[in-house]
């Protein structure tokens, strides 16, 4: 079968899985829903690989196909098709998304086993994968927007999965509203593209763009900035990033899938896909790169002080996506996308391991209370360490090769872009520090109470169910997490998923060793061949120099963390006291939440209050009741004639007759 046929099947299976589970949830036994969901994504992965193989069987230049199911709208110059676009970029994304999603489904099979909303979870999760694949495979901007919106909805549904928790529903709404702001940008960009180029289809748009637009013309810059707005919102970059840490209210598999591996990478994919437009608007591309750099540094600084385990990993995600933004904006397309893949592996793995530890802590997420799990939960600790090494770019892990490739490209491009290299390495230092801060706090040391209980009894600690953020008491019925907590050591499905990801996190980098092989780069080359930036290659020597610097940075970061948290554990407390102001600034997340409250939330509420109290009461009500009052008074006036006096009626009669007679006399004369 052709690659496009396989691609249609890729879309079909997750949708089918979601619908089957949603419709048959009463009839399906509990674990069957999980099995159906996981199988659906596994089948999608198989079809994705088959599409990849089919694509590889063609010439490198001919590997782009558009295929459409039917014309959605064909009127007055508007031609929208329900069509997909299969080329190396989309197939790459499909394979990465389905692989990681399948493993996370497998993990959830065990992790969510005692949750009352098991069926709903898998239905939503399958729907999310379908939406993400639709986004990635879309062949025109309209279908892209459809997939984009579906993904936003799936994220909302899954963040507020435990819907009886007010913190979760508030976080879901926050994520959705901020994503809508990005959606506005995306829709406006699509409209502008149609207005300037007359079409929505990818192939036509990217072919026509260089002919219609001149470099840095304001229209193409506006289009790129609007696309950037959408990308920023979806990928949680500054300033639309505040939703991502709050999105950790969702279950851990959700955090792993949506907010680490797939949905937040949609912005990166968008910029990579529309690189032809960004090439024509270098200003916008530079703005994107600087936003990525700023996010990278701000998020890393906040991750140094956060005490909630999942939020720390969330800020790490934000920071790593900053790297990817830098990559695809300055022209290192292959490097940025390679980092996307490796990041998907090790970040999902970190979330899975974190989920296991949080389960052992009876849903407590505060790292200040965790310690000593290294001895008790060996498998979880090993996989967590693997993920952390990859994140910190320890030599020869996957993160090592992918992150440093971006910085090497930036230095090869030279000029202003050296700043990306320098600050990128600084960010890598911070990354290593905060990553191993988590490792050295949780794993070594004297076992905490829950770890001790697990070691002694072999049972996971059970406590009164509480909201980890606010501490209020909950129950374990539907809408809240289930009564049992599953750790990897006690669940085979969780172990299999984490093991596969650990292998990927450690060894996936070997496909992109500079000077030796360039698997991903070569595969993605035809897509980006039209960009002048893809012609810039760092030399092998420069790449290895960069790798050496990166290794040094990573090892020193791990060393600093070791010194701060193992050798001299009292030092962090002292630093916190000495630099209390800085610490407060960082732990309040640079006061972004307060800024948005003042700039956006309060004006919106004030407008609402004005509308309700003033406009509604005086203008609208005034018009409506005013009309009614006018009619009533007019009626009152007319009623005065009905006096009840027969003689006045007779007077009116005679007067009328006299008037009529006068009229006729006058008209006949």
């Amino acid at each position: 079968m052709s690659a496009t046929a396989w691609a249609w099947f890729v879309l079909l299976f997750p949708l089918l899985g979601s619908v089957v589970i949603a419709v048959g949830f009463r009839a399906l036994p509990a674990r069957a829903a999980g099995a159906i969901g996981t199988t659906a994504i596994a089948l999608a992965f198989v079809c994705g690989v088959a599409a990849l193989i089919a694509l590889l069987g063609e010439d490198a230049d001919a590997r782009h196909h558009a295929s459409s199911l039917w014309d959605y709208a064909s009127v007055a110059g508007l031609d929208i098709k329900l069509g997909i676009f299969v080329d190396p970029l989309s197939v790459y994304m499909v394979v990465v998304v389905t692989a990681v999603s399948a493993l996370i489904h497998l993990y959830s099979f065990g992790y969510m086993a005692s949750d009352e909303g098991y069926h709903r979870f898998f239905s939503y999760l399958n729907f999310f994968v379908f939406s993400m694949l639709l986004l990635v495979l879309a062949g025109n901007f309209v279908l892209l927007i459809v997939g984009w919106a579906f993904v936003g909805f799936a994220s909302y549904a899954l963040i507020s999965f435990w819907y009886r928790r007010t913190t979760a529903t508030a976080a879901g709404m926050e994520a959705f509203v901020i994503n809508v702001v990005g959606d506005i940008g995306l829709v406006l960009a699509a409209i502008l593209i149609f207005r300037e180029l007359g079409t929505f289809e990818y192939e036509e748009v990217f072919a026509k763009a260089p002919e219609v637009f001149s470099v840095n013309e304001w229209t193409v810059t506006a289009i790129c900035l609007l696309l950037l707005l959408g990308a920023i919102a979806k990928s949680a970059q500054l300033p639309l990033h505040t939703w991502l840490p709050d999105a950790m209210e969702g279950p851990t598999p959700v955090s792993a899938l949506i907010h680490a591996a797939t949905m937040v990478t949609a912005g990166v994919y968008l910029i990579a896909r529309t690189h032809a437009l960004f090439v024509l608007a270098p200003t916008a591309a530079d703005i994107a790169a600087f936003i990525g750099l700023a996010t990278l540094l701000v998020a890393a600084s906040i991750a140094l002080v956060v005490t909630d385990l999942k939020r720390a990993i969330a800020y790490s995600t934000m920071s790593q996506i900053g790297y990817m933004f830098v990559g695809v904006s300055i022209g290192a397309y292959g490097a940025g996308l390679f980092h996307l893949m490796t990041h998907a592996f090790f970040k999902a793995l970190l979330f899975m391991a974190a989920g296991s530890i949080i389960a052992a802590m009876a849903n407590d997420q505060n790292i200040d209370r965790m310690s000593g799990f290294g001895r008790v939960m060996r498998f979880t600790s090993a996989t967590m360490l693997a993920g952390a090494l990859a994140l910190a770019a320890f030599p020869f892990t996957s993160g090592f090769f992918s992150k440093d490739e971006i910085m090497a490209y930036a230095s090869a491009r030279g000029g202003m872009y050296l700043i990306f290299t320098v600050l990128g390495y600084f960010g890598a230092l911070l990354t290593a520090i905060y990553t191993f801060r988590l490792i050295f706090r949780i794993l070594p040391g004297r076992p905490c109470r829950e770890a001790q209980e697990l070691m002694d009894t072999g049972h996971v600690a059970h406590e009164e169910p509480r909201n980890p953020a606010t501490g209020e008491v909950e129950d374990t019925e539907v809408g809240f997490p289930g009564p049992e907590h599953h750790i990897a050591e006690q669940s085979a499905s969780m172990r299999v998923a984490m093991a596969v990801l650990a292998l990927g996190a450690l060894f996936a980098g070997f496909v992109q060793i500079p000077g030796v092989d360039n698997v991903i780069g070569n595969f993605l080359d035809p897509v980006f061949a039209d960009s002048p930036l893809s012609a810039i290659h760092p030399s092998t020597g420069a790449s290895w120099l960069g790798l050496a610097i990166g290794a040094a940075v990573s090892l020193s970061g791990i060393g600093i963390a070791y010194w701060l948290y193992v050798v001299r554990p009292e030092l962090p407390g002292e630093l916190q006291r000495r630099f209390a102001g800085v610490h407060r600034f960082l732990s309040n997340k640079w006061y972004f939440d307060e800024l948005i409250d003042i700039l956006v939330v309060r004006p919106a509420l004030a407008i609402g209050r004005f509308a309700n109290q003033t406009f509604e009461r005086f203008v609208v009500d005034g018009i409506v009741t005013g009309t009614a009052d006018t009619v009533r008074s007019a009626g009152g006036l007319v009623r005065l004639v009905q006096s009840g006096f027969v003689r006045s009626y007779a007077l009116l009669l005679v007067a009328g007759f006299a008037g009529l007679a006068l009229y006729f006399l006058l008209s006949s004369s």
């Binding site: 006096s643 006096f645 003689r647 006045s648 007077l651 005679v654 007067a655 007759f657 006299a658 007679a661 006068l662 006399l665 004369s669």
Partner: protein, 172 residues
Amino acid sequence: MEQALFFAAAIGALGGAIGVVAMRNPFFGVLSLIVHLFSLAVLFLLLTSAFVAAAQVVVYAGAVMVLYVFVVAYVGGGTESAWEPIPGQRLLAPLLGVALFIELSIAVLASSLLALGTDGPDVRAGFGDPAAIGNLLLEKFLVPFEAASILLLLAAVGAVVLAGHLREGERS
């Protein structure tokens, strides 16, 4: 001769009419109306309508006015209060009356019916006789004649009903 009679009858009719309107006591009003009706009968005779004149005297002045006399005797001649509750009525009513008269007069005097300015055509001897009226009633105007009879019946029944026995609780 004819003119003198006309003016006498006209004065009588007008006097009677003004008397009806102006007299406080309704009994005197009834008497004024009788005078008026007789004057009208004379005017009918001047217009060679013998039968109508006779019917006027017999039916109108005879039966209808007798009815009025009975009722006024029963009801009594109560005088009306002087105060006018409807503002402007005492002013507007005469004005409207005058306006009405002027308009109608203009309509008559300025009309294009030239025959109004004459005495009318010469008529044969039996014009206005009972025989002629009778012929018309039974031939050309049979239906109005019968309808009028039914109307009289209805009126009689209505009168009986209206002025009949009072039911319980109606004496206020």
